[in-house]
């Protein structure tokens, strides 16, 4: 029963997304970066947000996309503050030797 229901829902979505001021998920995908960078013109931003309201898949996708970005930044950024205390002595010696050459 689940599969046919999904198909009907998809057909409804497919039709709905063709209405004026609506976009498909595929078109939504093209706007994601500009939306997050706050580069979407007001009109396109309204259309983007309207799609978000009616599409569960894109809402969840965007939430996970943003969570993934946060995880990436936090994981690699803090690495710098978590630097090992041991200084690579060979590299320091090589740099100083080059400086004194």
């Amino acid at each position: 029963m689940t599969a046919p229901r999904k198909t009907i829902k998809r057909r409804i979505h497919g039709t709905m997304f063709k209405l004026p001021l609506m976009i498909t998920c595929n078109e939504f995908e093209d706007f994601v970066l500009a939306y997050l960078e706050e580069e979407l013109p007001a009109h396109q931003c309204t259309i983007f947000k309207m799609h978000l309201k009616v599409c569960r898949e894109c809402r969840e996708y965007l939430r996970a996309y943003e969570a993934s970005m946060t995880l990436t930044k936090a994981s690699l950024k803090t690495e710098e503050t978590d630097l090992p205390e041991s200084v690579p002595q060979d590299l320091v010696a090589a740099v100083l030797a080059a400086r004194n050459a």
Partner: protein, 210 residues
């Protein structure tokens, strides 16, 4: 003959040297300040170079080259940006030079991790019954290493754009210049890299890993 051990000296009070004072001493070739400067900065520089190059030897080369440039260009450092910001820019440029020199032309495809749509243009996305927030995930010690490992799975052409934009906080224009790409191409690669990474991190965010 005085056989007594010398009186223990109180620890020498370090007088903080201002950034401009440090730059002056570096320009003058002060050996102690130079050695201290290298020791203080080498670890973060190596970490940045490793993130871009993923190879210890190449990262060390980039750091060495960067120090040569830094010492060679101290006279042109005008203090408009902080010293570390200036050094960071030089280091990233050197790392990218090493990256371009050692890069293989064959880039693996990223398609398998990109979003999927049906014939109607509708997204195919499994329902998110469980969603762990980044705050929850970052409380676990293994998370950062796991995320770093997933980033390393991305093909270089995408990974480097992601690292430069999202981690090193360069602008799209700066990344485009550094990699000799158009800004539109940088944006496409950045979005694809983020979308692929979302897919790779999905089991973690869904609470199915770690």
């Amino acid at each position: 003959m005085n056989a007594c051990l010398p009186e223990p000296q109180p620890p020498r009070e370090e007088t903080p040297v201002s950034e401009s004072g440090e730059v002056e001493l570096l320009r003058a070739g002060n050996a102690a300040v130079t050695a201290d400067f290298v020791r203080t900065n080498v670890t973060w520089m190596l970490a940045v170079a490793r993130r871009i190059l993923r190879d210890e030897g190449h990262a060390e080369d980039a750091v060495q080259n960067a120090f040569v440039k830094i010492f060679g260009n101290l006279d042109s450092f005008e203090g408009r940006s902080g010293l570390k910001t200036w050094m960071h820019r030089i280091l990233v440029n050197e790392a990218l030079t090493v990256f371009r020199r050692n890069r293989t032309q064959k880039d693996e495809s990223i398609d398998e991790w990109l979003p999927v749509f049906d014939d109607n243009g509708c997204r195919i996305e499994a329902p998110w019954a469980n969603f762990e927030t980044p705050e929850q995930l970052l409380q676990r010690t293994q998370t950062k290493a796991h995320v770093a490992a997933q980033i390393d799975k991305l093909p270089d052409a995408y990974r480097v754009v992601l690292v430069l934009r999202d981690i090193e906080e360069m602008t799209t224009g700066e990344v485009a210049n550094a990699l000799e790409l158009s800004e539109a191409n940088v944006k496409v690669r950045l979005h694809r890299a983020r979308a692929a990474l979302k897919k790779l991190l999905e089991p973690l965010i869904r609470g199915q890993e770690l």
